[in-house]
C-alpha cells in the first residue's frame, strides 16, 4: 500500500505550475482562485484513480453515496491549499485568516528547548504551519518527507523559498532517524505525517472509520525510543484563505515495552488513528490521501 501513492505519476507540468504561480503572485489571488474551477473540473472528469481513492474515503466518513459535488469539493480544497502554499512561501502571510488553537502547547516546549515530535497528517495543509510564527522561535524545525513524489512542484516552489529544502530530512536513508534525533536533542521540532507509511517503513494495522487500514509505525516508535512528547497538529482548510489550526498534546511520553513492542505500538497508533478520525469528521473535504487508504498490497 505504502508504495501505491508513490506510483501515481505527478499530474500537471512545469509550464502549468509556473503559469499558476505567475497568475497568483502577479495578477492576484482572486484570479488564481477562479482558475481553480476549470482545473478541478478537469480532475473530477479525468483523474479516475485519485477519484476512486477519494470516494473510498468519503463513503466511510459521510456514510452516504458520494456525489460529483463531493469530489469537486475535495479537489478544490486540495488545489486551494496548494495555491496558498505559494503565498506562504512567497511570505505573503497577510493573505490568510488563521484561527489557531492551543499553540502554547508547542511554544512552551520550544521555549524550554524540549525536543518534540510534531505529528501531522494529509488532512488539510501542513504548509500553513509556516504561517504560525513557529519558525521565528529559534528552534530548529525539520520535516521528514519524501522528496521524489512531486519533483516538478517542489522545484517550482523551491525557487520561491530555497530555505524550504534545508528543513527537509529525506526519508529512506539509514541516517534519516539519526538526523531526527539530533534535531530533537537540540530542542527542535521534528515534523512527521502519521497517516502515510514512508518508503519501506513497517506498518501497523489500525481500525480507521470502521475498517482496518495501514498506518506508519515510525512516529510512535521514534517517540518511544527517544522519550520525547508528541504534539498533534491539524490545519484544516475552511474556505478562501481561512484555516483552523489545532494543536493537541497527544502524549507527554510514549512507553512501549520492548518485549511486547508489536502490541504497544498497535495500541498507541490506534489512539492516533482515533484522533485523526475525529478531525476527518470535522472536515471531510480536507482528506488529501488520493489513493484507497484501506487497500493492502497482496
Amino acid at each position: 500500500m505504502s508504495k501505491r501513492w508513490l506510483a501515481q505519476r505527478e499530474r500537471g507540468n512545469r509550464w502549468a505550475y509556473q503559469f499558476m504561480l505567475w497568475v497568483a503572485l502577479r495578477i492576484g489571488r482572486k484570479t488564481a482562485r477562479a482558475l481553480l474551477y476549470p482545473i478541478c473540473t478537469y480532475y473530477v472528469l479525468f483523474s479516475w484513480n485519485a477519484s476512486k481513492g477519494i470516494k473510498a474515503f468519503l463513503r466511510r466518513v459521510l456514510q452516504r453515496r458520494v456525489t460529483l459535488k463531493d469530489l469537486f469539493s475535495q479537489y478544490h480544497a486540495f488545489a486551494s491549499t496548494l495555491l496558498d502554499r505559494t503565498f506562504i512561501l512567497a511570505n505573503r502571510r497577510d493573505e490568510f485568516d488563521l484561527n489557531i488553537r492551543d499553540l502554547d502547547i508547542l511554544l512552551d516546549r520550544v521555549d524550554r528547548k524540549q525536543g518534540c515530535i510534531l505529528l501531522g497528517s494529509h488532512l488539510g495543509s501542513f504548509d500553513i504551519l509556516r504561517a504560525t510564527g513557529l519558525a521565528t522561535r529559534n528552534a530548529p524545525i525539520k520535516l521528514l518527507m519524501h522528496q521524489e513524489n512531486a519533483p516538478i512542484l517542489n522545484e517550482v516552489l523551491g525557487k520561491l523559498d530555497p530555505t524550504m529544502l534545508d528543513c527537509i530530512i529525506p526519508v529512506g536513508e539509514p541516517d534519516t532517524m539519526l538526523r531526527a534525533k539530533e534535531c530533537l536533542d537540540a530542542g527542535g521540532l521534528v515534523g512527521m505525517l502519521g497517516d502515510r507509511p514512508l518508503k519501506d517503513e513497517k506498518v501497523v494495522f489500525c481500525n480507521f472509520l470502521g475498517h482496518s487500514a495501514q498506518f506508519p509505525s515510525g512516529p510512535m516508535l521514534l517517540a518511544s525510543i527517544l522519550k520525547v512528547p508528541v504534539v498533534l497538529f491539524f490545519c484544516l482548510y475552511r474556505g478562501d484563505g481561512q484555516y483552523d489550526i489545532y494543536f493537541e498534546l497527544f502524549a507527554e511520553a510514549i512507553t512501549i515495552p520492548r518485549d511486547n513492542r508489536a502490541q504497544g505500538l498497535q495500541e498507541w497508533t490506534q489512539r492516533y488513528a482515533l484522533r485523526l478520525e475525529t478531525y476527518c469528521q470535522m472536515a471531510p473535504n480536507n482528506w488529501f490521501n488520493f489513493y484507497d487508504f484501506w487497500e493492502t498490497d497482496k
Partner: protein, 94 residues
Amino acid sequence: MEEHSLSDQSPFETEIAQLLVTTLNLKVEPGEIPPLDPLFGEGLGLDSIDALEIALVIHQHYGYKLRSDDPDNTTIFASLRSLCEAVQKNRTTT
C-alpha cells in the same frame, strides 16, 4: 549455508551481531549474519529506526557516537564488518 557459518565472523563481529540481534529483536542467530551482506534494504532488511537504535546502543556500550553528518555513514552502515571496523576505530571503552 556453509559460507554463512559462524567461522566467517571475527570474535568482535560476533559480539556486535549479538548486540544487534538483542537490540532489534531479530529473528536470526547472531552467527548467521554474513559479515559482508548489506544491513539495510536487501540483506538484513533494517530501516532507519533500526539504525537509530543501533547508534544508541553502540554509544551506550562503546562510547562511540554515530552522527548523521559523518560523511562515512554510507560505508559505516554498509555491512556488519564495516560497522565493526568503525566501532573499533572510534570506541572510547576497552
